[in-house]
Symmetry: C2
Subunit: 245 residues, 2 copies
């Protein structure tokens, strides 16, 4: 099964990672994109740095990974330290490694993202940040380093995910209208959807349970309410689906 | 839109990545999982280290990321340096950051993976590696560091991908039978499939063009040949599908 073999031993100029070398890196950071959904609006949590060379600039929630912690642990710790947010489910995006992503220093950052219901979390800015705010996706300012790139990458990831699994459905009230669900998809995907087309496709997917109830206290004609069947939801989360709009 | 604000400036104990700190990391490496398909068998390319503390051990194709290169560039360079393989499409898996993944040193590795047709590549082991070989998925030995974990993670990733997009179809001959396609899926997914079930589902997906030809020179009853329509293939690659078995 061997393809080719070189018996000559060589330890010089080795690129095998097992050999000890001087680090060619100044540090590893973790940056977190926290998407928050609130009243049919998709926003992202940003912090304004209170000190250091980036004082006054806006950026994602980020910080250094410590020697004795994994990137996952670092991400949770940093989010807690900066904003007091706890118990957040985070997913690693990838490592961002462009050598010029930070001026004069070689810093690799590992990106994380999640999507939460804003109302479930009470954000408090820590001493390290002057301010923490939710910013509408369409109003993102220029961020430090490559944070706009990380944000854009995670938005694409989120958009792919909502087409393949029932991600974000937990952001709706327990009973909801098809229009509310459509607005959730429209906001995350950043596109306008055709109402009857959406209705036909989502009902065809058999994701929803139609209730014998209608909206209450609305000025327009009350729409039918739906909910998710936990069993169907669980099954679809595991095996996925493909939602073409 | 501000949630909470702390006007007090503090540069002490800051965890914001913009501040300069001593690196808590000894180095960043890149490790590549190259899956190769050959005669209905899924294999992975391994190298036996020729020097350093890992001499004699088997591992994935890996090496250090240099200060002036991205992880993508490092991955391509390392694969070329170790095996002379060129022009390989690689996808980043994620960063592996367990603090105890390498004994006594803090090394983060960025994983990559790809799936190629073995016959398209001529692997040559470099001076840094004693041997490079394709190893059957079911016969993977104990690898250095967390390389078994990286390999398992990339296999899961590959299995998810073949359920969602026509990945790997380019590993078959231009004209193929449904049984050949089924064996490709069986080998990648590591499961046995039901022949008539597979036939029904794959034909229902309208992925394939049925040809007016049958197999030649076979001892058993000649099976019908199929090929892919490049337009359908392109469309399905872009929008994805969900193949339930």
């Amino acid at each position: 099964m061997a393809i080719s073999s070189s018996k000559k031993n060589s330890q010089t100029n080795s690129c095998i990672a097992a050999n000890t070398v001087t680090p060619e890196i100044d540090g590893i950071s973790v940056d977190c994109v926290i998407f928050g959904f609130k009243k049919e609006s998709l926003e992202v949590l940003l912090v304004q740095h209170a000190g250091g060379e980036s004082e006054g600039s806006w950026g994602l929630l980020g910080g250094w990974m410590k020697r004795q912690e994994s990137a996952d642990d670092a991400a949770h710790r940093i989010i807690y330290e900066l904003t007091s947010l706890d118990n957040i489910y985070l997913e690693q995006l990838k490592a961002f490694t462009n050598p010029s992503r930070v001026l004069d220093r070689r810093i690799v950052t590992i990106g994380y993202y999640t999507l939460v219901n804003q109302e479930d979390y009470n954000v408090k800015a820590s001493l390290d940040v002057r301010e923490a705010k939710w910013c509408k996706i369409k109003e993102i300012p220029n961020l430090i380093f490559d944070h706009n790139e990380i944000l854009n990458f995670s938005l694409l990831q989120l958009q792919n995910r909502v087409r393949q699994a029932p991600i974000g459905f937990n952001l709706l009230p327990e009973k909801f209208t098809l229009l509310q669900l459509m607005h959730l998809y429209e906001e995350i995907l950043g596109i306008e959807l055709d109402k009857s087309n959406f209705r036909r496709k989502i009902l065809h997917m058999k994701l929803l349970v139609a209730l014998d109830e209608k909206q209450q206290d609305v000025s327009h004609r009350a729409a039918k309410l739906y909910k998710f069947d936990p069993d169907i939801y669980k099954k679809l989360t595991e095996k996925g689906f493909n939602f073409e709009f």
